[in-house]
Symmetry: C2
Subunit: 209 residues, 2 copies
């Protein structure tokens, strides 16, 4: 077991987890690195090496116990507890995120939503009532928000992030198409629907007419 785990490894673990949960749903109890690799288009050695950073989860000659490995991965990824999210920006995307059911399955709970538009504030969307951003410092504290989700327009994204950081949020998922500045102690990741498409087209452009 090494001390520093490569970031690429951490990024692959959720993929493994998802595939394993699918297998569990199909009633599969045991899976080899070979089989899992085929499903995920990853080499078996890659999977074994990745898992070996965290412990010895397999049985020689058999493979991995699917249920057990799901549990281990969830623990490794910190998914064996609840994470409290706040959504900033209740436009199309924010509204979809608030109503999206997939978060709760993995222990993500939306506990607050913020917007500046008085046509939206005060209304219930998904599990929460939208509040004015002015309430953010108070609510982040009282609701124990861990992660901020930014779904405002690009032009308002930096301000939204600044407010979240100011309110004490240390992790941000950014859906706005903007490059944002945060202090080094804050973990930020950009997702956005367009970025993935943009690198995809690089590979498509020579293939299709």
């Amino acid at each position: 077991m090494r001390l520093a785990i490569p970031e690429v490894v951490v990024l692959r673990l959720p993929e493994y987890l998802r595939a394993l949960e699918q297998l569990a749903g199909e009633g599969v109890y045991l899976v080899s690195s070979q089989e899992l690799g085929e499903k995920l288009q990853v080499t078996p050695a890659q999977i074994r090496k990745d898992l070996s950073y965290f412990g010895h989860f397999g049985k020689q000659g058999k493979g991995y116990d699917v249920k057990r490995l799901i549990g281990e991965l969830r623990r490794i990824l910190g998914l064996d507890r609840d994470w409290r999210l706040a959504v900033v920006g209740v436009g199309n995307l924010g509204r979809a995120l608030l109503r999206y059911g997939g978060f709760s399955q993995q222990g993500f709970k939306i506990v607050a939503a913020f917007d500046t538009n008085p046509k939206v504030t005060g209304k219930k969307v998904g599990p929460v009532v939208v509040q004015d951003v002015a309430e953010m410092p108070k609510v982040v504290k009282s609701e124990g928000v861990h992660i901020g989700v930014v779904s405002v327009p690009a032009s308002a994204a930096q301000e939204a992030v600044d407010r979240l950081v100011q309110a004490g949020v240390r992790a941000i998922l950014n859906y706005a198409p903007a490059t944002l500045r945060v202090p080094p102690s804050v973990y930020i990741r950009h997702v956005g629907p367009v970025s993935a498409l943009e690198s995809m087209t690089f590979y498509l452009k020579d293939v299709k007419g």
Copy 2:
């Protein structure tokens, strides 16, 4: 210039592009790899090396012409043309994607939407009228769809992908939390709101209580 460009490089180009577009909007005409690197939290050498795979875009002693580099990156990424999208699955997420305005700015155009639910088919959502999935083969051809966006529930994702592939779509952006099988000739990428959170919590779990 090398022949094979590392995938990581391609994944960084949209980040560069976004930062440059932001700079252009601020009226910046010239930027050094140093300055761009600070904005993006990337080393200047990384940026210079990445760009050197594609050509000589900078001016020694000066830096990069922002407008010029935006144009080059858009060309490199294949964004100097239109890309036609079809959304499969008009639930919360699909509806948000259909109504999302950010696609068109980068040349992505939603030309079709499909669902199986008769409560949704026939209705206009965003720029298109939702059609039954049975229409897919015909519509994909007539509308010249390049990229399929899957936003159905996990349980229906494999079927949605199969239908898209069958209809001739060669590139798929998957929002469903499922591991999907496609022929080797089809380019698929998973995005989904949960995956990014799951690797984030790995880094957060030891920090916050």
